[in-house]
Symmetry: D3
Subunit: 138 residues, 6 copies
């Protein structure tokens, strides 16, 4: 059977504040601008999770989309949706919740619930002008 990429698209609504504990208040304000304002702001994040593999000839499926979406919803969206990432998600107490770092976090959360080596790509759209793609390259 050929090798294909299956992508599940979901959305979640969260707020965040870009702020690095390794920088001074002034450096944070200068680097992140309005994204550093004290009380944070939010986005409708669009999340595309892609897995890659060879469909079973009997079923025509590699991973059932419903199973993939269940993993995404139960392991990831139930944690981050309608949350203030900086305060509500322990991982982002010390990690600045940039789109880049959120994408890596999504990868790390989901990877352990999917067949080994099947996770292919995390694509995260933060706004209409900003998106990040991560393919697990450490």
């Amino acid at each position: 059977m050929p090798s294909l990429i299956l992508t599940n698209r979901t959305t979640f609504s969260a707020s965040h504040r870009l702020h690095s504990s390794a920088l001074s208040a002034e450096e944070n304000r200068k680097l992140f601008g309005k994204c550093n304002w004290d009380n944070g702001h939010g986005h409708n994040y669009v999340l595309k999770v892609s897995v890659k593999g060879r469909p079973d000839p009997k079923t025509g499926l590699f991973i059932n989309l419903f199973d993939l979406e269940t993993v995404v919803r139960e392991k990831l969206l139930d944690v981050v949706d309608h949350r203030y990432l900086n305060l509500d998600i322990p991982h982002f107490k010390d990690v600045n919740p940039t789109a880049e770092n959120i994408a890596v976090y999504c990868w790390d959360v989901l990877e352990k619930y999917l067949p080994a080596g099947s996770l292919y790509e995390i694509h995260l759209e933060e706004t209409e002008t900003c998106s990040v793609t991560y393919r697990g390259e450490k």
Copy 2:
């Protein structure tokens, strides 16, 4: 000259928490669910501002789109973009920042900077599943 509707589309990213001071904590939690969680969450709001009028036969314009967008940006987006509405916008200290109330707020802010009677419609999309339309009906 015929009468037309001109619409300017912009976006802003803000966070909010649905919470009514006229309800108990328990009532708030029950009515608003995850939208009431303590630290708020956020959205990329899509805002469509429509004005209605007769273009000038000389120019082919009623209100110049650039002027309309300047009003929207300077009077409204500069105030709400990248803000936590409940804490940062005085109007929402006492008013629950539902999509409905945000749309009315946008109308009330913009109306005074546009030619009398020209504001036709505020259309506010909060998520892919939720939008509100307000045409100034008191």
Copy 3:
């Protein structure tokens, strides 16, 4: 309180065949073309259901979006989603499932589960080039 329109967007995937029992086979083929082919075809329908009313000053809501979407899902989408409309939905045994007739059907199903007079508009997109809007005008 002002009067606003609240819109909930959902989607459903269904198949149909355009065929009128009041026309001959030849008339059906000529009028509906490829939409009349024997075994039907399908669409991802985009459904926008709008209600209109005055929000409660205490809550900032007219109808809670979650309640509106629950009505749409339980009373309508659970019936039509993943169905072949002509065979699976009794209403369309005698009624040709054009986008126009589906929109009227959606109105008639939903109206009885919503506050009297609150249903404002059904907007149904069948493809990227075809949509129908119904506001209850009999």
Copy 4:
């Protein structure tokens, strides 16, 4: 039968230059800015043509979408698509091709090929931030 609105969405790619012969060169440059630059520029226009009426109970159709789209393509898009409106379309030799004036032009062209009184709305999107709606109000 109920009364419904049927909408056909198409696109065309054209160029234009905003310039009014009733204004001086300096006034044109000041009013229209970059839209007045000498050699013009272009857009992918999105055109939504809506008709309103009561479907035939026998067919479930008011105007067949295919017939509506044929009128739009043959009478309008074949004329304006891939054209420089100011030079190639006689109507815009004396009329400034603003989005407002193009929408009125579309109405006037299409109205005569559609059943009397059936044309309901022209919606023309020029860019992601600018659209115009015309409902035939003279």
Copy 5:
């Protein structure tokens, strides 16, 4: 000349039923859920066909987009559009028409009408939440 990827986007509307002849009725129902219901359902499939190569320095084109779209329409869309894939397309009598298998089918149909080695990717969106990407990896 540099090497580029050219992508043509089209859509087609088809219906299908997920059902594997290698599984029992009960296994099919359990694995495919509502996608296995007896009379099928449908989608507006979005198809993106990508070719890769070096443009001719004289023309600035590798494959003319119009020629590419003609191949896609005549060899593929004319076959699958407005069809019930399981019954109308011989290939899917024995092959379960999952998005994965449809994407491979599109590749196999188109590959023979395009310059050898030029087909780069088939991207097929079945719904807003499900898409498949195939790059010819056997």
Copy 6:
């Protein structure tokens, strides 16, 4: 730190005429059809510029999106937006402004203002049916 791709999406409106000086008038007309008509036509181009690299562990950023968008706007969009590419951009006096050639031009312009080796991909959408992807493969 992991390696990620950051993408900035912008748009510009320009006009062009497909015409190769290496071909006769008749060959140009035959090859490019309506895209060769004398006075040109235009598009809203969607431009996605992607850079790839490892975020700084201190900031969570590789290249700040605001800095990336500033480069795109100042070095590229300020040059091509609202222009007739064939006449206004010296590069396209001798180079046919196909989507393919525009994408390569965008790469060549932007590459020199970005950290060495960081530019990963130019994705240019000309219409809803045509896009081009360039990853710097000479």
